[in-house]
């Protein structure tokens, strides 16, 4: 006998239910951390490669362009509130061939580069500044020496492999252990970011230059570092007072997109988010985290300009982009956190900033593993990757094989990133590759009402229309065009680093590899009587 109860205008009965573990607030924070407050390229790459571009405007432009894309993910997440994100969205609308090729190439393979980047960030922006800063503030040459070691290829490679291994071991040991550690990473990262903002906003060019000189002297023994760097930059043809350039400002946006495009990453874990079907929750999680992070990154850019002035940012950029050795401290580029460390005389502040960067760098590799192993498990269950990939450890409830496979695959990419000449130029290739995943998902969103009508009509977003056209179609088309323009910029403008022959080989090689893999596996399965399209095809109900 059922125990039935009456509630306001709904009748329910006793039955089991699905419980989701991640609160909307946790997902909001998760997105912020995934967007990587510490990603530094906007602040060094952009001034170096794009003279006349306005950092703050470029960041805010990237945020505005990402807003329609973020809203498309809100629609898709409420329509298909399950784990798998882009792979699920695209496979429902386009079928397996497109979804596998796009997500395998743009995510699973290219994000191996992100694992390498995470190690590089950890070594170069975490440990190195920590020890360099401690060396400078305590007068310890040994500390500075350790800091310099973390900037060498050997130091970065060893750190990167250990970084990936530690993350894999934590995740394999059980997701609960990661969640426990995530709290530490969240607190540490936010504390470091706020501390850095305070240090930068308290500074001014008038006082900062002397502090940077002192820092350089303590770390590398260089006298009059700032003036020397300015002179060398000018001699190298760098214009330290370029006129405003609209094109350069527009091109800042794709670089800033490196961070802001990840506002949608929680969609990979919709199956674990409470109220994932709620429109308001998804707007808060995805659009809210985007705007919050976009504003924070713009504030950081404003803080940098407040602390050292625009002219010095061009000097710092010249060290990175134009290879002006005098504009580096012992070969070390002047990233925002290095400038903040240089401006403070407090070892405590150095430790706070250093630990924050270490924690957020390490967090990034966790995000890579969590997201990609889920996609790999889904692909394995769809019989497109080997069966062993989807095996879940009975006691720890983790896909251990997928983690090990991803760790092993990341090692050659770590070596390429740090040893192969020119490979570092593909740094923003991840932004490009993940960008085309997001753009194709936007197209999936635009077509959802027509290609997966039942799913769309059962979703809470179905009621929003403009002139009879589903709003998600309008937003999806807008996101597809705006995101597509940013993706194309990577392929057309050498300032964004993907116009070399190596870049074209890698970009199209990865795409071709994924497509060929799908074709071969599909046919291999077909010969065994299995049609892999069944994994995606919707059965007509009538």
């Amino acid at each position: 006998m059922a125990t039935a109860t009456a509630r306001p205008e709904v009748f329910t009965r006793k039955a089991s239910g699905l419980v989701r573990v991640m609160s909307p607030f946790s997902a909001f924070v998760y997105n912020i951390l995934t967007m990587g407050l510490i990603f530094p390229w906007t602040y060094l790459w952009a001034p170096g490669a794009l003279p006349g571009g306005k950092l703050v405007w470029g960041i805010l432009l990237a945020m505005v362009i990402e807003i329609p894309i973020a809203f498309v993910y809100v629609w898709l997440s409420t329509a298909l509130p399950r784990s798998g994100g882009d792979y699920v969205f695209q496979s429902r609308v386009f079928g397996g061939g497109t979804a596998f090729t796009v997500v395998m190439s743009g995510y699973v393979i290219w994000i191996l580069q992100w694992v390498a980047l995470s190690g590089w960030l950890l070594s170069y922006l975490g440990f190195a500044p920590l020890f360099l800063g401690l060396g400078a503030t305590t007068g310890s040459a040994a500390m500075s020496g350790i800091g310099i070691w973390f900037t060498t290829s050997t130091g970065i490679i060893i750190t990167s492999i250990l970084n990936a291994l530690v993350a894999a071991l934590i995740l394999i040991s059980g997701f609960k252990n990661y969640v426990r550690f995530q709290t530490v990473m969240i607190v540490g990262t936010l504390l470091a970011f706020v501390t850095m903002l305070v240090v930068l906003f308290l500074g001014s060019p008038a006082t900062s230059m002397a502090k940077i000189d002192s820092f350089a002297l303590a770390v590398s023994g260089t006298q009059n570092f700032v003036q020397t760097a300015i002179d060398a930059s000018v001699a190298a043809g760098v214009d330290l007072n370029p006129p405003f350039s609209l094109l350069a400002t527009l091109l800042v946006a794709p670089i800033a997109w490196t961070s802001l495009q990840w506002a949608t990453y929680s969609a990979q874990q919709n199956g674990e988010i409470k109220n994932a079907r709620s429109f308001n929750s998804q707007v808060f999680i995805i659009v809210g985290s985007l705007i919050f992070t976009g504003i924070l990154l713009a504030i950081l850019a404003a803080g940098l300009e407040k602390a050292v002035g625009t002219e010095f940012l061009y000097v710092a950029g010249a060290g990175y982009w134009s290879g002006v050795g005098e504009a580096t401290v012992a070969g070390f580029w002047l990233w925002p956190n290095i400038i903040a460390v240089a401006l403070t005389a407090s070892p405590l502040v150095v430790v706070i900033i250093g630990l924050g960067y270490i924690l957020n760098s390490h967090q990034i590799v966790h995000n890579c593993y969590i997201g990609m192993t889920r996609v790999m498990v889904a692909m394995s269950l769809d019989r497109l990757l080997p069966e062993a990939i989807s095996k879940v450890d009975e006691k720890r409830h983790t896909p251990a094989n997928a983690h090990w496979a991803y760790f092993i695959a990341s090692i050659p990419v770590i070596l390429l990133y740090n040893l192969y000449p020119g490979w570092v130029g593909l740094t923003l290739g991840v932004t490009f590759a993940c960008g085309y995943v997001f753009v194709i998902t936007c197209l999936a969103g635009a077509l959802l009402p027509y290609r997966a009508k039942d799913v769309y009509e059962a979703s809470p977003g179905a009621k929003y229309k403009i002139g009879g056209v589903p709003l998600v179609t309008i937003l999806g088309a807008t996101g597809f065009i705006l995101g597509g323009v940013m993706v194309m910029m990577f392929m057309l403008y050498p300032q964004l680093g993907l116009t070399s022959a190596l870049a074209y080989w890698v970009v199209f090689g990865v795409l071709a590899f994924s497509a060929i893999w799908y074709f071969l596996v599909k046919n291999a399965q077909k010969s065994r009587g299995i049609n892999v399209d069944y994994a995606f095809k919707e059965i007509p109900p009538e």
Binding site: M1, A2, A4, T5, A6, P8, E9, V10, F11, T12, R13, K14, A15, S16, G17, L18, V19, R20, V21, A79, L80, R82, S91, R92, F175, K176, V179, R180, T183, G271, R277, S278, L381, P386, E387, S390, V392, D393, E394, K395, H397, D454, V455, E457, A458, V521, A524, Q525, R528, G529, I530, V532, Y534, A535, K537, E538, I539, P540, P541, E542
Partner: protein, 331 residues
């Protein structure tokens, strides 16, 4: 790369398994069509087929209708809007009844009336489903086996046991042959849950029921255990641990983290380890889609997304007591 084992010279049987539809009309219709679509010889529904919610569609004095859906009150001014709403309710697996304000107030005030209405709607739905299966599967040669789950009530389930049915076979607590060689036993009840659902028994009792059913199996090497409850700690049963003292149950958080555990049945696991059947078909834990090997037995939980109108399932090819391959589907 090994995706499947070697082919046998004998033609394999292809079985499609889905579970936990919870009253969703759209997913049930897909299930019935799945045999033809996937070219399966046998389709099996693993339980929890009864809906959980009944949405009163209240006719207002101005001729418009209103209904509360997913926390929002929706207003329908036209017949088209009303039809669209009923379609969405069918997809979500929610029963509905159009009633005026007075009837709604009367039923709301009487739990027995609510209970009676649930039973009427659930029995009617299952009866309609049998009709649909008989109509669509007639002459196709596709066998359709249906069992209940812990969320389904005994008297409601009786609606699927129809004398003379040719295509839809109510198989709970029965041993049936899915082809010439392979048998299947089905058990829908589960061990206790935090929701105190209609059909739960202790581990000991479930173990006894399984033993009684296992005694009917002619050849364990070619047997399928269609047990709604998944085996304990098998990855088919991972879900948050809940506080049973709360209503509704709430998740247990320790050190800032949700505690996950295996909520399956130890008796089911022990039976699989003891009898080593060819295949285990399970459901119950919607969020735990997985495949696991327990000894020689391939155990499958395809999970459930009935609320999105998506039919999750699993295709399994087998011959002579050997699994040739399986494939998760999302149709």
């Amino acid at each position: 790369m090994k995706f499947f084992s070697k082919k046998s010279s004998k033609k394999p049987t292809r079985l499609f398994f889905a579970t936990d539809l919870h009253g969703s009309e759209r997913t049930y219709r897909k299930f019935i069509n799945a045999g033809k679509f996937y070219e399966a010889n046998v389709i099996v529904m693993g339980g929890d087929i009864q809906g959980k919610l009944l949405i009163p569609i209240i006719k207002e004095s101005n001729g418009h209708h209103r209904a509360t859906l997913q926390g929002r009150v929706e207003h329908m001014a036209s017949q088209d809007e009303l039809t669209a709403l009923i379609g969405r309710l069918d997809t979500l697996g929610f029963y509905n009844k159009i009633m005026d304000e007075e009837e709604f107030r009367a039923i709301s005030a009487d739990p027995k009336a609510v209970d009676k209405l649930f039973h009427e709607k659930a029995r009617q739905k299952l009866s309609d489903w049998v009709d649909l299966a008989e109509e669509r599967l007639n002459g196709t040669g596709i066998k359709c086996f249906v069992t209940g789950g812990n969320d389904d009530e005994w008297d409601v389930l009786s609606a699927i046991k129809r004398e003379g049915a040719q295509s839809l076979i109510a198989c709970e607590n029965e041993m049936v042959m899915v082809d010439d060689d392979h048998s299947m036993i089905s058990i829908g009840i589960s061990t206790p849950t935090p929701w105190n659902t209609p059909r739960e028994v202790s581990e000991g009792e479930l173990g006894k029921i399984i033993e009684a059913m296992a005694a009917k199996v002619p050849d364990m090497d070619k047997a399928i255990f269609n047990f709604h409850d998944p085996p304990k700690d098998s990855t088919l049963d991972t879900c948050p641990m809940l506080d049973w003292t709360k209503d509704p149950p709430t998740q247990i958080v320790q050190g800032g983290q949700v505690v996950l555990y295996g909520a399956g049945s130890q008796s089911v696991r022990a039976a699989i380890e003891k009898y080593k059947p060819m295949l285990g078909l399970h459901g119950h834990i919607h969020e735990s889609q997985s495949v696991a090997k327990i000894g020689r037995t391939t155990c499958i939980n395809p999970g459930s997304e009935y609320g999105e109108g998506i039919l999750r399932g699993c295709l399994v090819n087998f011959v002579d007591g050997e699994i040739q391959g399986y494939q998760m589907t999302s149709g």
